[in-house]
C-alpha cells in the first residue's frame, strides 16, 4: 500500500529541483536527443554510418561497454566494507555507489544494444522464445550476469529505501545474503567481460591471462575515482554529508589499484615488446604505429601519461589527503583509464587484422553522438537515482500513511503533503541519519 506514494515521491523528487538542476537535466536531455537522432540514422542506414569495418568490427560502443562494466563492478568496493564488514564510514556512500552501478549497467546494456546490427532480432537472446547459447558463448554469460547484477543492484537499494520510506529498519537477514551474492557477482561481471575478450586466440592482444586481473585493477581504479568525485559533489551541494573516512579509504583503494594496474601494464608491455613476436604486433601498432598508421599512438601515450601523473600524486600521502589534489587526480585517472581500457584496449585488438591487413578506425560523428547520448542517459539515470535516494535516506520524506494513517486512506495517491522533500534546505536541521563525523575539507 506504500508503493504508489513511494513511486510518486520518487517522481516528485526527480522532477523538482533548483534552476541548476533543471539546466543540467535539460542539457542531458538535449544530448540524449542528439544521440537518439544518431541512433535513428544508424537504424535506418545500418552500422555503415559508424567508423567500424570488417577489419575493426568493434569500436567506440564496445570500448565504452568494457569500461563501464568496470564502473559497475567497482560499486562493490563500497558495498563490500559497508555491509559485510560493517564499516560505518562507507554507510552513507553506499546507496550512491549502487546508483552508479545501476547507471553504469544501464549504459552498458545501451551500448550493447546500439552496437548490434539487427536489434529487431534481440529477442533471440531471451531464454524460452529465443536461443541463448549458454554456457558456450561468453557473450551469453555477459547477458546473464549484467542483467542479474542490474536486478540485484536495483532490488537492494529499493528494499532499503522502501523500508526507510515506510519507517521500518531494513531487515538484515533479508538483504545481507544478496549483498554477499552481489559482491561475488560484481567480480564476475568484470571477469566475464574480460574473458569475453581474453578467450579469443584469434586476437593475441587480448588473449592473455592478465586481462582479467587488469580489468579488475582498472575497474577498482576508475570506479572509486568516480565515486570520490560524485561523493565530493554531493557533499558540497547537498546536506547529505559524507565523512572524511569514506574519502580517505576510497582514495587509498584508488591509489593501490592504480599502482597494481601500472605494474600489470608494465609486465604486459614487457611481454609484448621484449621478444617481438606476432603476438606483440597489435601492441606495436598501439604504442608506436605500424607502417605509418598511428591513429591511436597519441591517445595511448596521453592515457599512460595521465595515469602515471595521477598514480604518483595518489602515492604521496599529503596530496591524497587533500581534496585540492585528490579531486583533479581522480578526474585525470578516470579519463586515463577510460582511454586505456576503452579505445586503447578494444581497437588495437583488431589492428592489424588476423591476416595482417591494417585498417584504422576513426569514429564518425554519428557514432560520437550516439555515445554521448548513452553517456547522457547514464548520467540522467544517475542523477534521478541520487535525487530520489537522498531525501529518503535522510529521512526527509516518508510514507504519508506513517504521518497520518487515517487521512492517508482517504487522500490516496494524489501525493498531497509529499512535496516537503526538498533536499537543499540551507541551514535546515539535518533530520535523521548518522551523526556526521569529521568533514573532508581542503587544507
Amino acid at each position: 500500500m506504500h508503493l504508489k506514494p513511494f513511486l510518486l515521491t520518487a517522481l516528485d523528487s526527480a522532477t523538482n529541483g533548483g534552476r541548476r538542476y533543471h539546466v543540467w537535466m535539460g542539457c542531458l536531455t538535449l544530448v540524449m536527443a542528439l544521440g537518439g537522432y544518431g541512433y535513428f540514422l544508424q537504424l535506418r542506414d545500418g552500422l555503415g554510418v559508424t567508423g567500424m569495418s570488417d577489419h575493426v568490427s568493434w569500436g567506440l560502443y564496445i570500448s565504452n561497454f568494457t569500461f563501464l562494466v568496470g564502473m559497475a563492478a567497482a560499486a562493490m568496493m563500497l558495498v563490500l566494507p559497508a555491509y559485510v564488514l560493517h564499516d560505518v564510514d562507507f554507510g552513507r556512500a553506499v546507496l550512491m555507489a549502487e546508483a552508479v552501478a545501476v547507471a553504469a549497467l544501464v549504459m552498458c546494456l545501451a551500448f550493447v544494444v546500439v552496437d548490434i546490427g539487427n536489434p529487431l532480432a534481440a529477442w533471440h537472446l531471451a531464454p524460452g522464445i529465443g536461443l541463448l547459447n549458454w554456457p558456450s558463448s561468453l557473450l551469453a554469460w555477459d547477458v546473464i550476469v549484467l542483467n542479474g547484477y542490474l536486478a540485484i543492484n536495483l532490488a537492494i537499494p529499493f528494499y532499503i529505501l522502501y523500508s526507510r520510506y515506510t519507517g521500518r529498519s531494513p531487515a538484515k537477514h533479508k538483504y545481507l545474503p544478496w549483498m554477499y551474492i552481489a559482491v561475488m557477482w560484481a567480480v564476475s561481471i568484470h571477469l566475464v567481460t574480460a574473458f569475453l575478450l581474453a578467450g579469443l586466440p584469434a586476437r593475441p592482444f587480448w588473449n592473455t591471462a592478465l586481462l582479467g586481473p587488469r580489468f579488475l585493477a582498472t575497474a577498482f581504479t576508475a570506479g572509486p575515482a568516480f565515486m570520490i568525485l560524485l561523493l565530493w559533489f554531493i557533499d558540497r551541494v547537498t546536506e547529505y554529508h559524507i565523512k572524511e573516512g569514506a574519502f580517505t579509504k576510497l582514495a587509498l583503494i584508488v591509489a593501490i589499484a592504480a599502482q597494481v594496474n601500472f605494474i600489470m601494464l608494465v609486465s604486459e608491455l614487457f611481454y609484448k615488446f621484449y621478444s617481438p613476436t606476432h603476438h606483440g604486433i597489435n601492441a606495436r601498432y598501439l604504442f608506436f604505429g605500424l607502417d605509418g598508421h598511428n591513429a591511436l599512438v597519441p591517445w595511448i601515450w596521453t592515457a599512460i601519461g595521465l595515469n602515471a601523473v595521477a598514480t604518483v600524486a595518489l602515492m604521496i600521502h599529503p596530496m591524497r589527503r587533500n581534496p585540492r589534489w585528490l579531486m583533479p587526480a581522480c578526474a585525470v585517472l578516470f579519463i586515463g583509464i577510460w582511454i586505456e581500457k576503452g579505445m586503447g584496449l578494444v581497437i588495437p585488438g583488431f589492428i592489424p587484422s588476423p591476416l595482417g591487413e591494417i585498417v584504422e578506425y576513426t569514429p564518425t560523428w554519428i557514432e560520437l553522438s550516439v555515445t554521448a547520448g548513452v553517456w547522457a542517459m547514464g548520467l540522467f539515470v544517475l542523477t534521478v537515482l541520487v535525487r530520489v535516494a537522498l531525501p529518503i535516506e535522510m529521512g526527509e520524506v516518508t510514507s504519508p500513511y506513517l504521518r497520518d494513517p487515517h487521512t492517508a486512506a482517504v487522500v490516496r495517491p494524489a501525493g498531497a503533503g509529499l512535496r516537503t522533500g526538498q533536499i537543499n534546505r540551507p541551514g535546515g536541521k539535518r533530520p535523521g541519519g548518522d551523526e556526521p563525523g569529521r568533514r573532508f575539507r581542503t587544507r
Binding site: L43, G48, S57, D115, L125, L131, N133, S137, L355
Partner: protein
C-alpha cells in the same frame, strides 16, 4: 486482398500475445482497407502511430489495457517495417502483403528448429518477397547435408598465379554486395621464402604472377573446431554435418562477436543494405548459402553450399584457371582431396590455434 488469407493482423496479434486488441485491430484493418490510399508515414497497416490507426483508438476511447495492447502491437509492427516507413507511400495490396510477409519472417524460428513445413513456408515467403520487391524469380533450396560427406579443400601455393578468377566467380555465385565490394576470398602475394601474412600484400594490381613471388589464398576454412560457432550468443551460426559452418541470416543479431573470434578473418558484416543489381542476381540459392542477406547481419563463405550439396564444385574451385584448388569429400578414401593429403606436403594456417581447418595448403 491478401494472397494468403491466413496471414492477417489477427494472427500477428495473437502471436505477440495481445489478443485483447485483436478484435479491435480487425475493425481497424477493415477501416483501412476501405480508406483511400494515403501518402506519408503512418497510413496503412504500418502502424507507425500517427496515421488513422491512432485516430481510431482515440475516437473509441478504449480502456487502458486495450490501448496498451494496441500500442504494443503498433510499436512492434512499426518497428518491423521501420526501414520501409520513411518513404511509405500508398498502402497497396502488394505493400500490405510485403509487410505481412516481412512480419512473419521477423517472428519465425531458428532454422535448425523449424519443422519441414515451416522451412517450406519460410522459403515460399522469401521467394515471394523477392518477387514482390524486386521482381526476381529465385529458387531457394534447403538441401540437407549428404550422408558420409565431409568437405575438404586444398590449395596449391605452387600453382596459384594470383589471377583472382576465384574472387570474381565467388562474387557472382554468392550474390555478394557489389556496392560494398565484399569479397570472401583474399589472395595474398608473398615473397618467395616468406610465409608471413603481415608482410604479404593483397592489393596487387600488376600483371601476375610477379617474379619471385607466390600466391596464398584465404577464405573461410570451415574449421572442425570453429571458434566463431562457440562464441555466437544466439547460436545463429553452426557447423553442419558435412562440415560447413553456416549462418542463419535471419537469426543473427549482428553482435559481430564471431568476427572477433575468427583467426582467419573469414566473416563479413553487412554494414549497409547489401546491393546486388537484379540482372546479376544468382537465382539458384540456398537458405544457408547465397540467398539475399540484409543489413546488420554477418555472412561468410559456405563452400558454395548451394552447389556442393548437389555434387558440384564450389565456384572458386571451378573458376580457377590454374587448377590450384582441389575440393572433395574427406570421408571418401578415393577422392582427389584425400590423394593430395596423403601424397603431397601439406600444412594449415595457424595450426597452433587447434581450430582444425578443413583447408590445407600444399606444394607440388
Amino acid at each position: 486482398m491478401m494472397v494468403d488469407r491466413e496471414l492477417t493482423f489477427e494472427d500477428v496479434l495473437r502471436f505477440v500475445g495481445a489478443s485483447a486488441a485483436a478484435e479491435h485491430a480487425r475493425e481497424q484493418e477493415a477501416a483501412l482497407a476501405s480508406a483511400p490510399a494515403k501518402s506519408g508515414c503512418g497510413s496503412g497497416s504500418c502502424g507507425c502511430g500517427n496515421g488513422n490507426g491512432n485516430g481510431t483508438v482515440l475516437e473509441k476511447t478504449v480502456d487502458r489495457r486495450r490501448a496498451l495492447g494496441m500500442m504494443f502491437t503498433s510499436v512492434a509492427a512499426g518497428a518491423q517495417v521501420a526501414s520501409a516507413c520513411s518513404p511509405l507511400s500508398a498502402a497497396t495490396d502488394e505493400e500490405k502483403e510485403i509487410k505481412l510477409l516481412q512480419w512473419r519472417e521477423t517472428i519465425k524460428r531458428h532454422y535448425r528448429f523449424m519443422t519441414d513445413q515451416e522451412r517450406a513456408d519460410t522459403i515460399n515467403r522469401l521467394e515471394r518477397l523477392a518477387k514482390l520487391r524486386r521482381n526476381l524469380d529465385i529458387h531457394i533450396d534447403s538441401t540437407p547435408a549428404q550422408p558420409n560427406v565431409e568437405y575438404g579443400y586444398a590449395f596449391n601455393i605452387s600453382k596459384c598465379q594470383g589471377f583472382r578468377s576465384c574472387v570474381d566467380a565467388c562474387i557472382n555465385e554468392n550474390n555478394l554486395d557489389r556496392e560494398a565490394a565484399t569479397q570472401y576470398i583474399r589472395i595474398f602475394e608473398m615473397e618467395d621464402g616468406v610465409v608471413d601474412l603481415d608482410e604479404a600484400d593483397a592489393t596487387f594490381q600488376h600483371e601476375v604472377p610477379a617474379e619471385g613471388h607466390f600466391y596464398f589464398g584465404t577464405q573461410c576454412f570451415q574449421c572442425a573446431n570453429p571458434p566463431c560457432v562457440k562464441v555466437c550468443p544466439v547460436g545463429a551460426t553452426w557447423q553442419e554435418p558435412d562440415g560447413i559452418t553456416v549462418v542463419d541470416y535471419d537469426w543473427c543479431i549482428g553482435c559481430r562477436y564471431c568476427m572477433a573470434a575468427c583467426p582467419y578473418w573469414a566473416r563479413r558484416f553487412n554494414w549497409s543494405e547489401p546491393d546486388v543489381p537484379a540482372p546479376v542476381v544468382n537465382p539458384n540459392q540456398h537458405y544457408l548459402g547465397n540467398r539475399a542477406r540484409k543489413k546488420g547481419v554477418v555472412e561468410k563463405c559456405t563452400f558454395c553450399i548451394q552447389r556442393t550439396r548437389k555434387g558440384r564444385l564450389p565456384a572458386c574451385a571451378e573458376a580457377c584457371p590454374t587448377g590450384a584448388r582441389v575440393f572433395g569429400n574427406l570421408l571418401d578414401p578415393n577422392s582427389e582431396i584425400r590423394w593430395v593429403l596423403e601424397n603431397k606436403p601439406v600444412f594449415r594456417l595457424k595450426e597452433d590455434l587447434k581450430t582444425e581447418p578443413r583447408f590445407w595448403y600444399f606444394t607440388d
